[in-house]
């Protein structure tokens, strides 16, 4: 027994911290730093040579890379915009409805709407691919029921629609998360605030816009940054539904799939770990930028209400 004498080094603190710190540092922080470092090197004649920002110059300027990079970045921004415009408002609406007092079956609705979120991308991607497939005909058949059959096209197969369709599938999958977080925020608004509003004659929609929405703004901020990080790191859904080439004609290519192709190679191109690292570094900087904007600009300006 290492019976600790008075006030020297407290070994048990290190023992408690060591395993987590070790695994976290070795498997997460060091590889992350290693990847950033690798992006500054290039493999020339079987040895890693320091080339400064050359890889990035190639990524932004060399048409072999830059066309795909800017395309992936543009698509990724669109992917994020759709999530912000569709997923979060729907999430807020559902949460607002769920939190209305004395609503029956609300536990059932909550549980059911959250189901897609727990499924893997592989299942979601394939299930929607089948549903939207003109071969099976479920989607055209259902649109026929409401008289919109003429609007049906194989969305996932057309370059101009595929990315939007996939974004909406992803929205379908993840709408449960904003719904739950907003729901939690709405439940934590104290009764007195609502009662005071009712005494002043503010009810219904006005109450939502003027009282509740300002109070849940911090939660909406958190959801936005979670969506941002998730979207700029997405890969699985596109890979499952459209393959590593992110077809048709790269129209659904986002940074995650681009990174995968650059790192591992595809068809005739050989994989290039250094370019992969450069793309990962760009993703890191984008995500870090988003997190900083959130922490320093959004979070400090949003007033947190303590009840």
């Amino acid at each position: 027994m290492a019976a600790a004498p008075k006030r020297p080094f407290r070994w048990h603190i290190s023992v408690f911290l060591a395993p987590a710190l070790l695994v976290y540092t070795a498997i997460m922080i060091l590889p992350l730093a290693g990847t950033l470092q690798l992006s500054l090197f290039r493999n020339i004649n079987q040895s890693q040579v320091f080339v400064g920002l050359e890889n990035f110059r190639m990524l932004f300027g060399d048409p072999n890379w830059s066309v795909n990079f800017w395309n992936a970045l543009r698509n990724n921004v669109w992917f994020f915009v759709i999530h912000m415009l569709v997923q979060n408002p729907i999430g807020v609406l559902l949460a607002a409805l769920l939190s209305s007092p004395r609503l029956r079956f609300s536990a059932f609705y909550r549980t059911a709407i959250f189901v897609p979120t727990i499924l893997s991308f592989v299942i979601v991607g394939f299930a929607w691919k089948l549903i939207l497939s003109p071969l099976w005909g479920v989607a055209p058949h259902m649109m026929d029921l409401v008289g919109l059959k003429s609007l049906f096209t194989p969305w996932l197969g057309k370059a101009q629609y595929a990315l939007t369709a996939l974004s909406l599938i992803s929205v379908w999958q993840f709408v449960g998360i904003p719904m739950m977080l907003i729901y939690a925020a709405l439940l934590s608004i104290p009764e007195e605030v609502i009662e005071a509003a009712e005494c002043d004659g503010i009810t219904g929609m006005a109450q939502f816009w003027k009282i509740k929405l300002p109070l849940i703004l911090p939660s909406i901020g958190i959801i936005s940054i979670l969506t941002f990080v998730g979207n700029f790191n997405a890969f699985d859904l596109i890979y499952t539904a459209q393959g590593a080439l992110a077809g048709p004609n790269y129209s659904t290519d986002i940074l995650g799939t681009f990174l995968y192709r650059a790192f591992f190679g595809f068809q005739l191109q050989v994989g290039d770990p250094n370019m992969g690292a450069a793309i990962a570094t760009m993703m890191f900087l984008i995500i870090l930028g988003g997190v900083c904007v959130y922490l320093f600009l959004v979070q400090t300006r949003l007033r947190r209400y303590q009840f």
Partner: protein, 279 residues
Amino acid sequence: MSTATRSLPRTIGAHAILLTYTAIALFPVILVIMNSFKSRAGIFGAPLTPPTPGTFDLIGYATVIGQGDFIHYFQNSLVVTVASLFFVLLFGAMAAFALSEYRFRGNSLMGLYLALGIMIPIRLGTVAILQLMVASGLVNTLTALILVYTAQGLPLAVFILSEFMKQVSDDLKNAGRIDGLSEYTIFFRLVLPLVRPSMATVAVFTMIPIWNDLWFPLILAPSEETKTVTLGAQLFLGQFVTNWNAILAALSLAIMPVLILYVIFSRQLIRGITSGAVK
């Protein structure tokens, strides 16, 4: 009187919107499971009707179980998920206890360092992780996946658990110290049992992304012996593009265990989210 007449249409409206969205959320899942029990003619002839005696057929399941090595993939996924979960909870709780219980130099810096991983995805380090695993000979082993998922799950676990550990009463711990218990005993015997509900919440949050992950199995462990069920399903679905019975059955087999677990644990999960465990 006036509130009653006003709130009835509003309640109906709320139910209508929620029901519509519930239908949208569940429709694809129900459609896939329903059609997996049908013959090919039934799948294409009447996709929207439940299986009838005329169209009921288990041919899809027979193909999947005959062709794919799904049982084996399941075992792999189970081993990886359970082992990662164990390490995340144990190491995470230990670190959370150290951070929330003791004052020492660098405490808040350490907390910040661990919190970094909540926002920065581990995926961005993939290039170097693969090199590390190649160098240590861990490619195509389940150990590689367990290590990566443990590192991935730790930041959030430490963050959530330390919030809860701050709520454990100091009097209790100090009483233990007066009785001569060591710090380790205090942690394992007094504190851990008290934070068990929050451990369950962390477990659910950690488990879902690990079970569903495609990226790391694809990159670190794509061999036949180490495939997880997500990767196995992905490859299987790619091979059987034209065999709709098999695809639908494979999808259903992948959905059902998750769905059953979810129905069992949904109360825990939802309580975890709504109690503000994730901020």
